[in-house]
């Protein structure tokens, strides 16, 4: 048994090499594992798809750098979809790391034909998290008087008539903040006509669950998987879809490591650890 078990004793170099190859291979040679569309992503898509021309969508780029790989595709896909439906996008960044990505998304949208001030406006970096959200939702022009270019909001066609949360149709925080589901729900509650959604890092998915059945969060996107589903639904597969094969193979590899690690532990236990345990017992 010990001899068979030794086959499963892998050192760190072996583990690192296997996981590196497992992730690189599908990036170089895509496999094309089907990506089923989940219910929450479909609901999210339909909410944006049912927007009427002129409706306001509030997109907050509020993620940290570690979540950029999941949140940037969400930010870009949702903004593109909203503009295609004729909605007006108010974009801002409530995290320092989210701000350059928001600017890059804005530049890309303008290149694709969006007119600044008429289709999209960018308020820049707004610090303060929950108190800032409360301030903006109660009186946007007082909390953020100018956009990132210094133009007064009263002079911009999109924002001149947007004063409170009641004037916003859908709010989309694209976030990696663990407390975002709580504080966004609190601050949107006084505005019952405003729909709150959430596009987040995958680690927030369990945190968002209590708010979905109650409708406090109408729909949510689950990390890179949610971004991939959304990209497929809008017909523009991009980075998120491309990363799904690598995600699948990586997770299968982790499961393999769990199985192999348990086989190694039970068939060929580490003698040093066993000796230490015996020493402790005696």
């Amino acid at each position: 048994m010990n001899d068979i078990g030794k086959i499963f004793r892998w050192n760190r170099l072996t583990i690192y090499a296997i996981i590196t190859l497992a992730i690189l291979f599908p990036l170089v040679r895509p496999i094309g594992i089907p990506i089923p569309i989940g219910e929450s992503a479909r609901t999210f898509y339909e909410l944006v798809d049912n927007m009427k021309p002129g409706d306001i969508i509030w997109v907050d780029s509020a993620f940290s750098l570690s979540a950029a790989v999941e949140c940037v595709p969400q930010l870009e896909a949702i903004s593109q979809h909203a503009l295609k439906k004729g909605a007006k996008v108010i974009m801002l960044a409530m995290s320092p790391d989210g701000q350059p990505f928001a600017e890059r998304a804005l530049a890309a949208l303008i290149e694709q034909g969006a007119v600044y001030g008429e289709d999209i406006v960018y308020l820049g970096f707004v610090p303060g998290e929950e108190p800032a959200i409360a301030a903006m939702m109660s009186d946007l022009h007082r909390a953020v008087p100018r956009d990132y270019r210094g133009t007064p909001l009263t002079d911009i066609p999109i924002t001149k008539n947007v004063r409170t949360g009641n004037d916003i149709a859908i709010v989309v925080p694209v976030t990696s903040n663990a407390t975002a589901p709580d504080f966004w729900t609190r601050q949107i509650a006084p505005y019952p006509n405003t729909v709150l959604t959430m596009a987040s890092q995958a680690s927030l998915w369990p945190r968002i669950q209590p708010y979905l059945p109650t409708g406090q969060i109408a729909a949510a996107l689950n990390g890179a998987r949610g971004a991939a589903e959304y990209e497929l639904m809008i017909g523009k597969p991009s980075i998120a879809v491309a990363s799904m094969d690598a995600t699948s193979i990586a997770y299968l590899t982790f499961v393999l490591f769990i199985i192999v690690g348990n086989l190694a532990h039970w068939l060929a236990p580490d003698k040093k650890v066993a000796a230490k345990k015996d020493g402790d017992k005696s």
Binding site: R104, R207, Q209, I258, G261
Partner: protein, 205 residues
């Protein structure tokens, strides 16, 4: 009086905002709106204070030589460069974008990607069938991984269904408990601040 002033300010501002939430008085709404608008300014100043504090700590580190000098120099240099480039972003627009998207973002993403190796090692060494708790943890970990990845549904349609059940029953029960407990704790803490009982946030016992 001097030491109690911040307590009075916190109490008055908090009471105004609380009353404004429940009772519609136009004059009070105006004051509450102004207070809320000031939070954005105060938050911006806090970021500046944090930056100055970081600078002072590292300059002190340079002077006392208690920490590695190279770390201090690199941090101070990067902070000053990024501050200048961002402050004058109109003139240094290209430099700002290059520093963020070509230096900071790839470096940060690479560092976070190293977690992959830690997770791989943990999957091999730590997730073991040793006890009931570790078995439950193993099942939850495997289900979560295969439930999220598209390959899970390819292997079996039951995997995402089990994952969804885990999220919407087991997880939701725990999360609701945490949310309610956290909310009650936050209410208690907020009442203490509003009534002036809690004063540690201003340096008083």
């Amino acid at each position: 009086m001097y030491r109690k002033l911040p307590v009075y300010i916190a109490t008055i501002a908090g009471m105004i905002l609380m009353i404004d939430y429940f009772i519609n008085i136009p004059a009070l709404t105006k004051v509450a709106s102004e207070i809320q608008a000031w939070t954005v300014l105060i938050s911006a100043f806090l970021l500046g204070i944090g930056m100055v504090n970081l600078l002072l700590v590292n300059i002190r580190g340079l002077q006392t030589r208690r920490t590695d000098i190279l770390d201090n120099i690199v941090l101070i240099g990067a902070l000053v460069v990024m501050f200048v480039v961002t402050l004058f972003s109109d003139q240094f627009d290209t430099a700002y974008r290059w520093l963020f998207h070509e230096i900071y973002a790839p470096l940060g993403t690479a560092v976070f990607s190293l977690l992959m190796y830690a997770m791989a090692s943990a999957a091999y060494r730590a997730i073991r069938l040793k006890s009931i708790e570790s078995t439950v943890f193993l099942i939850a970990a495997v289900t979560a991984m295969l439930g999220v990845a598209p390959v899970g549904e390819t292997i079996s349609p039951q995997i995402p269904k089990f994952y969804t059940w885990m999220l919407q029953v087991l997880n939701m029960a725990g999360q609701r408990g945490i949310i309610m407990g956290g909310a009650i704790g936050a209410m208690a803490a907020s009442l203490r601040v509003l009534l002036g009982i809690e004063r540690r946030h201003i340096g008083l016992e």
